[in-house]
Amino acid sequence: MQPYHEFFDENGRPRPHQEPLSRYLGQHDAKAVQKLHLAVQGRLLEQEVSYNILSSPDGASRNWVLDEVPHVISPEEFASLADALSERAHLLEACLEDLYGPQKLVREGVIPADVVLGNPHFFRSLHGARPLGDRRLVLYAADVVKTSDGQYVVHSDRTAAPTGSGYALENRLVIGQILAEPFREYRIRKVNRFFDLLAESVRSLSARKIIDPRVVLLTPGVHDESSFEHGYLARYQGFELVEGRDLTVRGQEVFLKTLEGLKRVDVILRRISDDWCDPLELRADSVLGVSGLVEASRAGTVGMANPLGSGLVESPAFRAYLPQISEALFSRPLALPSIPTRHLADSLHRQEVFDTFTDWIIRPAYGDRQAAPLRVKSMSPSEQEKLRAEILETPASYVAENWPIASRVPIGLNMAEEGALSLRLFACASGDGFTVMPGALGRVNDSPDGLFLEGESATISKDVWVIGTDDAEPVEVPRMPEPLVEIRRGGVDLPSRLFDDIYWLGRYTQRCNCNARIIRAGLEPIQTEGSEVPVELVAALPRTLAALQVLSPGTIKKFGLEQCLFMAIYDRSRGNSISSALSRVHILTTATRSRLSSDTWGILRHATELYAKAPVERVSSQEAADRLDALLLSLAAFHGITSSNMVRGHAWVFLEMGRRIEQGVFVLTLLTHLFQAGRSRILMEALLRICDSLLTYRSRYLSNLQPTPVVDLVLTDDSNPQSVIFQVKRMLACVRSLPQKTPFPLSRAEQRLVTLETALLTADLGKACKGEGRALKEIAEEGINLLWQVSDDLTQTYFIHASRSRAIAPSHWIGAGLEADT
């Protein structure tokens, strides 16, 4: 059977509703087409739209692929599809209502007990609990394909935490702006109203009837496959983006941890599936959730979208019974059918599937998305036999699906290729009903069998246009909304975890900066003079890098200078190597993206990209030094733009503190390990160069290099922004601007900084630098010690929650008791 072609009819002409687009694209020559293509790619890159691949070990993300040609749907076709979809959403919601309540569907035998009571996604702790707002589904998504006879069928229901709406929005903002002309001509229906409705529905779940309830979007974090979307939607809808560790349950209420204490949370829009939401009552090994969330949700103090437990009906097994469920609950056939699905617990169905085994795809009945679906067709006879035997062992844990041939759409502006199309449609609760997003996330698969099975071939996405019928709707090109806000200062309602990340962003960028400068000091003589590196440096640089914990003591004994320096740059197995520290910076940048301007974001992206890929072939010293220069420039730009543009709020304070601690410790480490090692002219000069203070020294003392003025310049000269005292003074200013419980006694961090400042101001440098310089070493070591303690103080005071939670060990109840007896 021929697949249905969405764009062209049987005679190869564009279908009537595709004509305007076809005409518009026809007006563009190859060059103009290329320009459109570049415009789309440029936008995506700018936003760094990505989709993380779970299976890749290094947590790599792949870029979002968006086809320039939108998929257009006629108004009539969409209207009937939308009606059918909202009926399906109603049905699934009614199903949840029954199963978490009276369970008539099971008692009356409409569905086998196993599908509910044997389903790991049925949570007994939620049975009988009513969600706030009385809605069991707030956001619902379904994946549909169109069969050869033009009928839409569902191949996946998403009822727990549906993803994709953010990507659909992003696609629309990109394509809608670039193809603004046909967008207007078609009077394409806009999707922004859908997001407004969703936001309204979510806000209405608040138990406290207040004007501005606190809504948070709960994300698993930056490693989640769709973390891009979480940040994007949070920004678009004006919800705070939080992770599980940003929240806490006290009593039965949920709170956001901020610098100024706990702030009550009213509604959680969750992007975490049911079982991971609460380690106390659901999966004990979850570090993503919030312990006590089930209790809070049962007590009705926090609204959840979707309510906990709603993931039950997305199990593929339900698809097999939806026709009966529809008859039982609504007394009419299923409005939007599914692809043929058989639950293999039923012996008749099992026989049917076994008789035509190669037509089917087998997958877990209860929706383990990590398990790859099996195409029987592509299995050897012996593998098929084995699968049959496995099915017969536990038939209830399998379903079989028979995929229709999906409709085809053209790919790319020249429409030379085509692929199978699947649409992810979205419906959100509004009033008593559902509103369907007039658009969708289109996905195109150009592999031969065109199936949309999880975790398989990379797919191309498409913006989906629904032609409007209402002439009254104003035609506007879509853009991000500008919410109306009141004047505020500061921003203390942000999760304190965000400041923790910003603090570490400051530390890691500065660490990269410092380490790059010391490594470059070793590479420079090699490249410029073409001669040997002075022996003092050959010994002192690796030792200093070891003291900075960039290299291990074993490494510096084993390898020569150049090898050591290269490892300090490229070796990803070392946590503090330049490339490791930069990948840390990348993660922190992603986590703090909501607080960074797009220029700042761009600079950091540029810096992290310099070392994103491991070098394929041997790098020369010259190339390595050039790349370090480029990195230092990027980091200087980051420093500059934040210093000149960043509001002096708490985010700035923590970024600044992070930087200052690193710089202080760095200079003190140089003093103990580089300078101290004999104090040759070469080492003093290297120290000044690494601290970017050589020019200043020369202008003051000409070429007269002596220990005391050298040490003064980098340690106690408060006019030198590289000096230790300068860092200490800045940190004191920072610490004093942070919220504190009492004005006196001083916080521990402040006490330590004052101690350090006094020690530096009263140090007798002449004496300290005499002889072995033991006194100087003591000052420096004490300084490092104090700075590390300041960092611990900050963590203790402001970020204590960052420590991980774990479940109480479930084992040994019996063993321990017996031991106690003997």
Partner: protein, 274 residues
């Protein structure tokens, strides 16, 4: 059919929780939720209860127990009054039905054999064929391995019993409880005493749940104290919780069961006067 009556029960937690809540779970077990905010390096939870145990009234001569295990199996599915028990026919987190478990149970569950007789015989078989070996298993040891090696502790034996019965199509649940410490004169000390204990229970329509203890080859009576039940151990762990921060921890459990000669009425009076 009350064979266990709680006269009084108390729970103390140290450090003192800032918040507590009492309720019951899906299966009707009592649950206390506590929240301790104070930093601590040791959490002590002490539960003490005074209970009255009576005999479990079960006359094996009752015609009810002469019905075959197959008719029990069929009743479970056909009789709507058995709905609540149907939950215990299905797989649970730690116990999955399996042909191997079925194969193990079948020699005992011969066609037409009366339900109670079959259960008693099966109880005895587990007791005879399995070796009590506290070093062999932990909570993560899969049921298949226990069945293959025929070793484990009471928890494993209860899981084997529950899994085997479910594989036959019978409803079985896991019971968590304690054993009386000191044996009455002339009786041997029971294995698993002074510790948490576990056994199994099978559903018989018109009667209810029939408990059996494969670790000790007996039907629980006045020496078995029920704490809770569920589909398997994962649902009736005596303590579950989440610790924030800190390093590793260990769990220590001790159980003390002491018979009191006083009549319950006297006991209450004593308390009021003290």
């Amino acid at each position: 059919m009350v064979f266990q009556e709680v006269l009084q029960s108390s729970l103390s937690v140290s450090p003192t929780p800032v918040w507590t809540n009492q309720g019951s779970d899906y299966f009707g077990n009592f649950v206390d939720v506590v929240e301790v905010i104070e930093p601590h390096d040791r959490l002590v939870v002490t539960a003490s209860s005074e209970i009255n145990l009576g005999p479990r009234l079960m006359d094996s001569g009752m015609p009810l127990f002469q019905t075959s295990w197959e008719s029990v199996r069929d009743r479970l599915l056909s009789d709507p009054r058995c709905y609540e028990a149907r939950e215990m026919l299905l797989d649970s987190p730690l116990v999955r039905r399996h042909p191997k478990l079925l194969e193990f149970a079948q020699p005992t569950f011969t066609p037409g054999r009366p339900m109670l007789e079959a259960i008693k015989a099966f109880n005895e078989r587990i007791f005879e064929e399995f070796t009590y070996d506290p070093g062999f298993s932990d909570i993560a040891t899969p049921l298949g391995q226990v069945l293959r090696e025929k070793r484990g502790v009471c928890q494993d034996f209860a899981h084997v019993a529950v899994g085997a019965l479910r594989s036959l199509g019978l409803a079985a649940r896991y019971v968590s409880g304690y054993l009386e410490t000191r044996p009455p004169a002339g009786q041997p000390r029971l294995v698993g005493a002074d510790a948490s204990h576990a056994w199994a229970s099978a559903y018989v329509p018109d009667f209810g749940w029939v408990a059996f203890d494969p670790t000790n080859n007996l039907l629980p009576s006045e020496r078995h104290i029920v704490v809770g039940w569920g589909r398997d151990f994962s649902e009736v762990s005596p303590l579950r919780g989440v610790v924030h921060g800190g390093g590793a921890h260990t769990v220590k459990v001790s159980v003390d069961v002491e018979p009191r000669p006083e009549k319950p009425r006297n006991l209450q009076q004593q308390q009021q006067s003290s």
